[in-house]
């Protein structure tokens, strides 16, 4: 199928039916996934999917539809219904497609053509091997949630009545395993995986397997502690969850509605001077990078928090126009089924210069957080409360595993109380942070 042509036809047809502006966003994807358990293949799944979202503006009113049915009759109905839908919407002066620079997207090497040539048997072998090594890691590991391997290729076309026509291709590949340690009332699961844009960049199978095994074992016997106020270390595994809560409070439209506790903090200090937080989706070969975003804007780097000072909120074209600011951040789509909304793709908290082990050594009694259940930040109020697991720190060492406790406080206070930032930043996914120490926080338990 000539997808570019289909997108162009749909845009033209929408204009013909009276739309002032129209934009088609079309995806064509291939996916493969295998799951093995206890050495046997359980599932093999192959899929080819396509779909298109159509955005129209008529008299400053927005209509949106999507379809995976590309038959001629269905597409006609699709365009007609989308234009009709726009008519029940309320007109808004800020509605309309973005004004885009025509420039050519940078090649970030996000597509690995070799992925489609890897044979299924080889993929099954990776999934089998990673599980096998994790199961053999320790005799207390008794059961498996399985090993997996998956890969995907995605092609995106964006065509708009403003003369923009873009296309990009990307790939993703992932494998990992989950195992269970212990028995009866004392079972703990541990997962670990590796996800990259290129097959060759995947982490070592043995390393991934051992990390999964370690995660299950280290939680065995975890118990709550008494409620107390102590220094808390957010490990680089738990820190991303925390930052995701902070970032959800930076949504530009929530600021406009004064629905976030960050509303009045632009260009003011919100965190310790040691915190600089950027969004950089332009790192070559990185799985969280992109050449252009859901609106067709070319990807770029942005600094949101600079040495503790809040520099920017998160907007898409429409929310930015509404708030009367210049668009800066990335706008993302929930595949072709949604309109773009302001977002971040590859968040990086800059690293500090302290070793994590030295941070732990400097704490007499404290809590090392390995996992959070949720992000903890309540956006309207900034209250912070979240379930956590990890290790108790006693006399500068990790003493015993802890689970079933909460951390509580105020998000702004917590960020200002960040005393030390470790040097252990590793860019693995879309949210990357080194470990950091907060001078004190309430650990709520028994």
């Amino acid at each position: 199928m000539d997808y570019k042509k289909i997108a162009e036809t749909v845009v033209k047809k929408a204009l013909k039916l009276g739309a002032d502006e129209a934009e088609a966003y079309l995806e064509n994807n291939r996916e493969f996934e295998v799951n093995v358990r206890n050495g046997k293949v359980e599932t093999v799944k192959q899929s080819m999917t396509k779909g298109m979202g159509l955005t129209v503006f008529k008299d400053k009113k927005l209509g949106f539809s999507y379809t995976s049915d590309f038959s001629e009759k269905a597409l006609e109905d699709f365009v007609e219904k989308t234009v009709q839908l726009s008519q029940i919407a309320t007109p808004k002066p800020w509605n309309g497609l973005p004004d885009l620079k025509k420039g050519k997207p940078r090649d970030l090497d996000l597509y690995d053509p070799s992925i489609s040539k890897v044979e299924n048997n080889k993929k099954i072998k990776v999934a089998t091997k990673v599980e096998k090594i994790a199961l053999a890691y320790d005799k207390r590991i008794k059961n498996s949630e399985g090993g997996w391997f998956g890969d995907a290729e995605s092609e995106v076309f964006l065509v708009s009545s403003k003369g923009i026509s873009r296309r990009t291709k990307s790939s993703a590949v992932t494998f990992g395993t989950g195992v269970i340690a212990g028995e009866g009332d004392n079972m703990q699961s541990g997962y670990y995986g590796s996800s990259k844009a290129h097959f060759k960049d995947l982490e070592d199978i043995e390393y991934v397997a051992r990390e999964a095994g370690k995660r299950a074992l280290e939680k065995l016997g975890a118990r709550p502690v008494k409620t107390q106020k102590v220094p808390v270390v957010f490990s680089r595994w738990a820190a991303p969850s925390f930052w995701s809560g902070v970032l959800s409070a930076l949504d530009g439209d929530s600021v406009f509605k004064k629905a976030t506790f960050m509303t009045d903090y632009l260009n003011k200090p919100i965190a310790s001077e040691q915190i600089t937080l950027i969004d950089d989706p332009t790192i070559p070969r990185h799985i969280a990078s992109t050449t252009f975003d859901g609106e067709g804007k070319l990807a770029r780097k942005n600094t949101l928090i600079d040495k503790g000072v809040l520099k920017m909120f998160i907007y898409d074209t429409i929310t930015a126009r509404k708030a009367g600011v210049k668009v800066n951040t990335i706008a993302q789509r929930y595949v072709y089924k949604g309109t773009p909304s302001g977002s971040l793709l590859n968040v990086i908290v800059n690293k500090g210069n302290v070793k994590e082990e030295n941070i732990i050594k400097g704490i007499d009694q404290g809590f090392y957080v390995k996992g959070l259940r949720g992000s903890g930040t309540d956006v309207p109020t900034g209250n912070f409360s979240v379930g956590a697991s990890g290790f108790w720190i006693s006399k500068g060492e990790l003493a015993f595993p802890v689970d079933g406790v909460t951390l509580g406080g105020n998000t702004l206070e917590l960020m200002k109380n960040i005393e030390l930032v470790a040097d252990n930043l590793e860019i693995r996914g879309g949210l990357n942070s080194p470990s950091f120490k907060v001078s004190e926080l309430i650990v709520g338990g028994k």
Binding site: V41, E42, T43, V44, K45, S47, M48, T49, K50, G51, L62, G63, F64, S65, Y66, T67, S68, S71, K73, A74, D77, K81, T82, Q84, L85, Q87, I88, A89, T90, K92, N143, S144, E145, I180, D185, M187, Q188, S189, T227, K257, A259, T339, R373, G374, P380, T381, N383, F384, S385, V386, G387, D403, G404, V405, T406, G408, N410, I442, G444, K446
Partner: protein, 479 residues
């Protein structure tokens, strides 16, 4: 009522995937010796309208159409799907799914028999026939009612959505089933702001309900309920942290049982021995006043199903009776491997997914304790009016839930509102600490459950009940 003059066009009805074609696809899927083959055809139309800041902010429509083909062979599943309904593409899809097996076909000819199925949906008027402007009236009504409710109401968001799914399932055991599944929902969210204090409230109605269940009176009712909750929570103080008895209000706390208990009673985890209850069948896992059911046959409820996504009729399954674990929820594959029968729990998000064991409408069954006595029995504790989102590990049963509406109980009476309540603990412990259960079971409007990357509509419910102790995570340390 304003409706479209003609039924909406569907490529599915044009595609002429008749019985002969289905048989041919099943034969191709089994040609490598697979033990079982299945074709799942889906056409879904979603409609959604949102109102925000006194404006209709979004009006959306979506069409999902495709065919998923599954082949089972021993413990193995081969799955492939296509959104191209041409017979050639579907034959290729069937072939790819069949590659999971290796060998020769044992049977290539199937007699498909169309099954008659019961109906648990309450649908007279299909919502897809109603023009968007008609639905928009509900949103405007809810918006103005909520704004007039109290001067502290600062934001109102209203959303109406419906989905209309036609499925056809055919398998190599000769099953052929059609079902039309309709879901509708109207939600009102409000925020309140007064003297620098913020709060929020919500209310909704939803289910396998036709458009005849939606009208301006309902919109008014929901807006007032959302407003009541936000205003009630405005003066809320930080919740105390520590261990307390709790009372859960009827109807709106069932999510707790779905998340913290139900997921640990799904058959895939039982087969894999990865959930905390896998070896507890016929054992006491709760106090003897606790009975838990998963029931796909409640008329109009959001999780109800005439058939599951493997064609097995929906049914009522007792998971815990008088404290004893009675069994697990199974799809066909896990049932076969565990030498038992499907419980009508094989559900999938769409043709792009293979079915897995899922809940439908899950609820704690009614007991005998007087709700007033339950409240009176608590000297100092927490009253949970509505439970919010949760996070649970099915392996350990450990959970954290937020509580959007909760109050302090002092000397058997509900007193001041609390914010930031987090319920923490693990499912098996809570089951042993349920000491009182009322007779006033209510099923709530329900929501959407996620598992293994698949979303599915469910609902849940509960009568008034007491848990003798549970850990509350809150911002305030007990002095």
């Amino acid at each position: 009522m304003n409706i479209y003059p003609h039924p909406v066009h569907s490529t599915l009805s044009d595609s002429q995937l008749g019985q002969e074609e289905l048989k041919e696809l099943l034969a191709i899927a089994k040609q490598n010796g697979g033990e079982f083959a299945e074709v799942y055809i889906e056409h879904t139309v979603n409609n959604n309208i949102g109102l925000d800041e006194d404006k209709i902010s979004s009006a959306r429509r979506g069409v999902d159409m495709g065919v998923g083909i599954r082949v089972l062979h021993g413990e193995k599943t081969g799955y492939a799907h296509s959104d191209d309904l041409s017979l050639d593409k579907l034959k290729e899809t069937a072939r790819v799914a069949g590659l999971i097996a290796s060998g020769k076909a044992k049977q290539t000819d199937f007699d498909l028999k169309k099954q008659k199925i019961p109906s648990y949906y309450m649908v007279k008027t299909s919502p897809d026939r109603i023009v968007p402007a008609e639905k928009a009236k509900l949103l405007w009504k809810a918006n103005s009612t909520a704004r007039d409710y109290n001067k502290s109401i600062s934001q109102v968001y209203v959303s109406y959505s419906d989905s209309n799914t036609e499925i056809t399932i055919a398998n190599s055991e000769g099953l052929l089933v059609n079902d039309v599944q309709t879901l509708t929902r109207l939600i009102v969210f409000v925020s309140a702001l007064e003297k620098g204090k913020r709060s929020s409230g919500y209310a909704y109605k939803g289910g396998t309900l036709g458009y005849e269940h939606y009208n301006l009176e309902l919109a008014t009712e929901l807006a007032e309920e959302a407003g009541r909750m936000a205003v009630a929570m405005l003066p809320a103080e930080d919740a105390p942290a520590g261990e307390y008895p709790i009372v859960m209000a009827k109807g709106e706390c069932g999510t707790f049982f779905h998340e913290a208990i139900g997921h640990s009673l799904e058959g895939d985890g039982a087969r894999k021995k990865t959930t905390c209850f896998w070896d507890k069948k016929e054992e006491m896992i709760a106090t003897e006043i606790v009975s838990l059911a998963d029931d796909g046959t409640i008329p109009g409820a959001r999780g109800s199903i005439n058939v599951d996504d493997e064609g097995t009729p929906g049914q009522k399954n007792i998971l815990i009776r008088d404290g004893k674990c009675k069994g697990f929820l199974y799809d066909k594959l896990n049932a076969k491997l565990m030498k038992t029968k499907s419980t009508g729990s094989g559900r999938r998000q769409s043709y792009q997914h293979y079915p897995i064991p899922r809940m439908t409408n899950t609820y704690l069954m009614a007991g005998k304790d007087n709700p007033e006595d339950i409240l009176r029995s608590v000297k100092k504790g927490i009253y949970i009016s509505q439970i919010g989102g949760g996070n649970v590990s099915p392996t350990t049963g450990r959970f954290v839930f937020s509580v959007p509406e909760g109050y302090l109980i002092e000397n058997g009476k509900i007193t001041s509102p609390l914010k930031g309540i987090q319920l923490m603990g693990n499912g098996p412990d809570v089951l042993k600490n349920i000491t009182m259960v009322g007779p006033d079971l209510e099923i709530s409007g329900g929501g959407t459950c996620g598992k293994d990357g698949q979303s599915k509509p469910v609902s849940d419910g509960n009568p008034t009940l007491k848990v003798s102790k549970i850990t509350i995570g809150g911002a305030k340390v007990r002095g």
